[in-house]
Assembly symmetry: C2
Homo-oligomer: 316 residues x 2
């Protein structure tokens, strides 16, 4: 009897390392979420992946064969060679041959891509983008990231950088972004932009439900909870943030005429608070046909999008 091929997906994050063993239909057979060792250096993180994989192998059903591994990590990746060129939040990681190292140790093919791209793959094949042809995954968090699927395939561009919608400039005289430029989407829709917008309002207007919280400890989650609790400044904040997101998505609709945008990441937990004004703004700012075509929906895989998408990366 032939063995079923199963696939490992690794989401190598700054806080958590998730490893999953998945069937080709995206069904999770086993998953492990542990504190990530990435800050101890690449060797520690690699050893952590190898040990966890060996544990999984020992417990494996004899009818299954681990065929390949995919890894998602925040940073710039040479996808052809499986090399992490530089990591977003790990200053000591440079030119780490993750793919080659793990492939030798585990004796299976290993593919590597950045976290936004693998999350996009996850949502596209098994989540909110299922059965679509083309999709943008937007990750709203500290930063604003993007992963692009065109005609059913990950589109990474010539250097593997494509999909960086967080630094699309939509207001050339707008607020300064983390990247140093003015008026990027991230300056409006990233965590800092959202917090600053709310705090500005709270200084000049009344009605804030969050005035007893130290501004330095405030998170977008607090603001979305305040909006749900009826804080008018919080509702206004998300209305405006959604409007800016919609402008960026209108630009993408006009340029790429895709079917769906899937919005994930921590800030996206605000859900309709941000998606509803984004949809309104999309229709207002896009050309008719592409604007009406493109749906904006919330991601459905949550934290697991990266792990699930990484398993899919291993066999696309």
């Amino acid at each position: 009897m032939s063995q079923e091929k199963v696939y490992l997906g690794v989401d190598l994050g700054g806080t958590t390392m998730s490893i999953g063993l998945l069937q080709s239909n995206g069904n999770i057979i086993f998953q492990s979420h542990t504190a990530s060792k990435v800050h101890d250096g690449s060797q520690s993180a690699l050893n952590q992946i190898i040990r966890t994989t060996e544990d999984i192998k020992r417990q494996l059903n004899s009818g299954m064969e681990i065929t390949a591994m995919g890894i998602g990590i925040a940073g710039k990746v040479d996808t052809n060679n499986g090399v992490l060129i530089e990591a977003t939040n790990l200053p000591n990681w440079h030119n780490v041959p993750l793919g080659e190292h793990l492939s030798k140790a585990l004796q299976i093919p290993v593919k590597v891509d950045n976290d936004a791209n693998v999350a996009a793959l996850g949502e596209f094949f098994y989540g909110a983008g299922e059965k679509q042809n083309s999709m943008l995954m937007v990750t709203l968090g500290t930063g604003v990231g993007g992963g692009l699927i065109l005609d059913g395939k990950l589109y990474s561009g010539i250097d593997g950088i494509a999909g960086e919608m967080g630094h699309m400039i939509i207001d050339i005289d707008g607020p300064v972004c983390n990247c140093g430029k003015q008026g990027c989407v991230e300056a409006f829709c990233g965590a800092k932009g959202i917090l600053n917008r709310y705090l500005d309002k709270a200084q000049s207007k009344s009605g804030s439900l969050l005035k007893d919280i130290n501004p330095d400890e405030l998170t977008p989650k607090d603001i979305s909870q305040a909006a749900i609790d009826g804080d008018p400044l919080a509702i206004e904040t998300f209305d405006e943030v959604g409007m800016y997101l919609g402008v960026a998505l209108a630009n993408i609709a006009n340029m790429l005429n895709i079917e769906i945008v899937v919005v994930g990441g921590g800030v996206a937990n605000a859900g309709e608070l941000i998606l509803k004004p984004a949809r309104k703004s999309l229709i207002e700012h896009a050309l008719n046909v592409p604007g009406n075509r493109m749906k904006i929906v919330q991601a459905t895989l949550g934290d697991r999008a990266g792990m699930i998408g990484a398993s899919r990366l291993s066999f696309v």
Copy 2:
């Protein structure tokens, strides 16, 4: 002896109809440029194409066989069925089955696409984008159009609308565009935006070489000639217009990480006056890797890009 396959390319413009007979390598065997009959209705224009094609057939070298025809026209096209859904400047043209009609009359397959897309194909296969993998063609004229080639193929999106970079919003509080929205690329880089920018300067500053021309008769060509002749206001105008173009191209570099942007259309005759500031602005506004990767060059096929690209459309 087998016959060489040759292809017809038709650029069905508002002023001129160009028909060319081309070899597969883009070499033009015969070309005809006559006053377009599009304003007399679609039947007149179709008859004009059929008659010209029959003239070409009669004179054809016996070693050649006309294998297919491609047509480019300004408007929204259902490319699958060769139907012009609506034309940009022809209010009476609706749902015209150009492909089916011509295919029956001429007994060859006929493909139809919009003018920006066929011009992009022309420049990509035989012009400034040759030997590249991915390219954006920007057409600067009354409007600002775009045609996108990704991984060697025309990318049109789900409704055939993709590439519409003219209505990308780069300054949400910016000037009103022809489309009614604010701060689109076209509002800065289209003919009207350029003229208004120059005229505004000429009202408040001295040094204009064009003050004796009736403002209603001024064209972007006059302003580029004035810039060449040393008019400081004209030079400043193109510096600013190029800066805005560069912002839009930075957004595209970040989003698509493509190799080259080819700039054509009447306004692009200003050449380095606009391309030099656009390149500077691209580097300033894009992320490092995609910004440094992407070249901005002038189109090389001029008016013939549409006709040449249309012939290529017929056999891609």
